[in-house]
């Protein structure tokens, strides 16, 4: 067990060294959420609604871009196989990959956090809870990113495919538009999107209120979905073995 966790951390460390400065991680993981945040700020949206959304968004793009770059790239270069040769379980490999995306997500969202702090000057409703929610969301997103990476075959299209999933998710979760204002049939879709729960959790921790999902549900869901995605990712890894 300890061996597995240690192995996962070494994988994460290696990934961060290797992919931190890859163009797709930088552009989609850091630059995009930042530009997005600025665009919304300039248009003057209601800041209480916007701040949690932007924070979640930067975590979302940060934590998923890294896995897209690392897994898709490594699978094409056949270096992903190296990980399967070490004495570590598939779950351990999945966790390692999730961890690197997780750390990258945390790092890349600091810029957005700074903006929220400076321009929106929102004192968090509950600091400890906010940290917990940020951790939970970043874990959820990173494991989701890993799962998605196994669906992508052609690395050249990785970002296109990722974005064709990320953007609809972004608009259908309540990052920008409150679920309560969506048409009834779309609100069901929204409830099926993991992102909806993390943004609600972060919203509660940051401003002390939520749209439709109470924190007693949203916070556990982020963690539970992390474990579920991780487990599924381990199955996907196993299935890559011909």
């Amino acid at each position: 067990m300890l061996d597995e966790i240690r192995g996962a951390f070494y994988i994460a460390k290696k990934d961060l060294k290797e992919y931190y400065f890859k163009p797709p991680t930088i552009s989609w993981g850091i630059a995009f959420p930042l530009v997005f945040a600025l665009a919304f700020l300039l248009r003057g949206w209601e800041k209480d609604w916007l701040a949690p959304g932007l924070l979640t968004l930067s975590l979302f793009f940060g934590s998923t871009s890294m896995s897209a770059a690392s897994i898709v790239f490594e699978r094409r270069m056949e270096s992903f196989e190296r990980l399967l040769l070490f004495p570590i379980s598939y779950l351990g490999v999945a966790f390692g990959k999730a961890l690197s995306s997780f750390f990258f997500g945390l790092l890349s969202s600091t810029a957005t956090v700074a903006i929220i702090w400076l321009f929106l000057s929102i004192p968090p409703h509950n600091m400890m809870l906010l940290m917990l929610c940020i951790v939970g969301s970043a874990l959820q997103f990173s494991s989701m990113g890993i799962l998605l990476s196994f669906a992508v075959k052609d690395p050249a299209q990785a970002m296109t495919i990722f974005n064709s999933i990320r953007f609809p998710m972004m608009f259908l979760s309540n990052i920008i538009i409150p679920v309560s204002k969506l048409p009834h049939y779309l609100s069901w879709v929204s409830l099926a999107i993991p992102l909806t729960y993390s943004v609600e959790a972060i919203r509660y921790a940051l401003i002390g209120s939520y749209d439709i999902i109470p924190p007693q549900i949203s916070i556990p869901v982020t963690f539970i979905s992390f474990f579920a995605f991780l487990y599924l990712a381990a199955i996907m890894i196993k299935r890559t073995i011909p």
Partner: protein
């Protein structure tokens, strides 16, 4: 128990039979060659033994452990150099070796010493801080070998160790392989290069289309298959290759430019027959050359097909 024991090992890729019920064993300390043409099933066999491909049927023991049931134990005691040099391009040589060692849980201090030792052994000290992607093909191959040795495996799998290397790098890698083996490492080497197998290995097994078709020491194999000779002939006029193939004693016939290359078992009677055929067509032989088959032709004879 032997280092590697394989029993009826079989691989189907969606119904396609890539490895067909093969059985063999490799002794501890042996430098074992697995020789076969492209697509024979060499890589598939290696990958099954290392847990990178599922075993469809049969079983195997690697260092006494079964890849089917004790994969983690197998992974701890083997090293694999795959057919592509697949280390991490953005990491330096040093970082690549350290990462490999960390994944086997080697203690920091020991790992640092080991990494230095390997860089020296493979003559890569001056590339220590170069990124992997900046290395030449030969250097990449060597570092990939080094990374497979960080944890001092008991058995090393080398899949086409010298593929794509020039003569000098190939010789450097060969001498490395010999040295490792002399120091007691059991080596399972795959190659499609007969010279590599004959030069390097104590024992060779030949695989073709998923089946083992011959096994023995290089000298045994040469003796067993070198009964044939190569006859090169050309004529002053037209004669078809089909007709020549039908002559008794011709094992294989191929055409290159205006002349024919025949692998024959009984050259005198074949030449007589050729003269006869030519005369009946009112043409004549204008070139004849007879020589013993070389290693390559022995190999082609073993696998029973001509790669022109």
């Amino acid at each position: 128990m032997d280092a590697i024991v394989v029993k009826n090992l079989t691989k189907y890729y969606d119904g396609f039979l890539a490895v067909d019920h093969i059985s063999f064993s490799v002794k501890w300390g042996e430098l074992f060659g697995f020789l076969g043409p492209n697509g024979a099933g060499k890589t598939t066999t290696v990958k099954m033994l290392c847990g990178l491909t599922r075993i469809s049927e049969g079983d195997a023991y690697v260092a006494g452990y079964s890849p089917l049931r004790e994969l983690k134990l197998v992974k701890k005691v083997i090293g694999l150099v795959p057919d592509v040099s697949n280390l991490y391009p953005e990491l330096t040589c040093w970082e690549n070796l350290i990462f490999a060692g960390e994944m086997y849980g080697i203690k920091k201090e020991e790992l640092v010493n080991r990494a230095y030792e390997l860089l020296k052994l493979f003559d890569l000290m001056d590339k220590k801080d170069s990124k992997f992607k900046q290395l030449s093909k030969g250097q990449k191959r060597k570092l990939t070998m080094a990374a497979a040795l960080v944890h001092k495996p008991k058995i090393l799998f080398l899949d086409e160790p010298t593929i794509g290397l020039d003569v000098r790098s190939r010789r450097a890698v060969w001498s490395m392989i010999r040295e490792l083996n002399e120091n007691g490492l059991t080596i399972f080497l795959t190659t499609h290069n007969i010279h590599e197998a004959f030069n390097l290995c104590e024992r060779i097994m030949v695989i073709n289309k998923g089946k083992i078709i011959a096994a023995g020491s290089p000298t045994e194999l040469k003796r067993r298959f070198s009964g044939s000779e190569v006859l090169e002939v050309s004529f002053t006029g037209e004669i078809s290759i089909e007709e020549i193939s039908q002559i008794p004693g011709v094992i294989k016939a191929s055409r290159s430019g205006g002349s024919f290359k025949l692998v024959v078992s009984d050259p005198i009677s074949v030449i007589e027959e050729l003269v006869e055929k030519a005369r009946s067509r009112r043409i004549s032989l204008n070139y004849v050359n007879l020589r013993g088959a070389d290693a390559e032709e022995v190999f082609l004879k073993i696998i029973g097909e001509e790669h022109a």
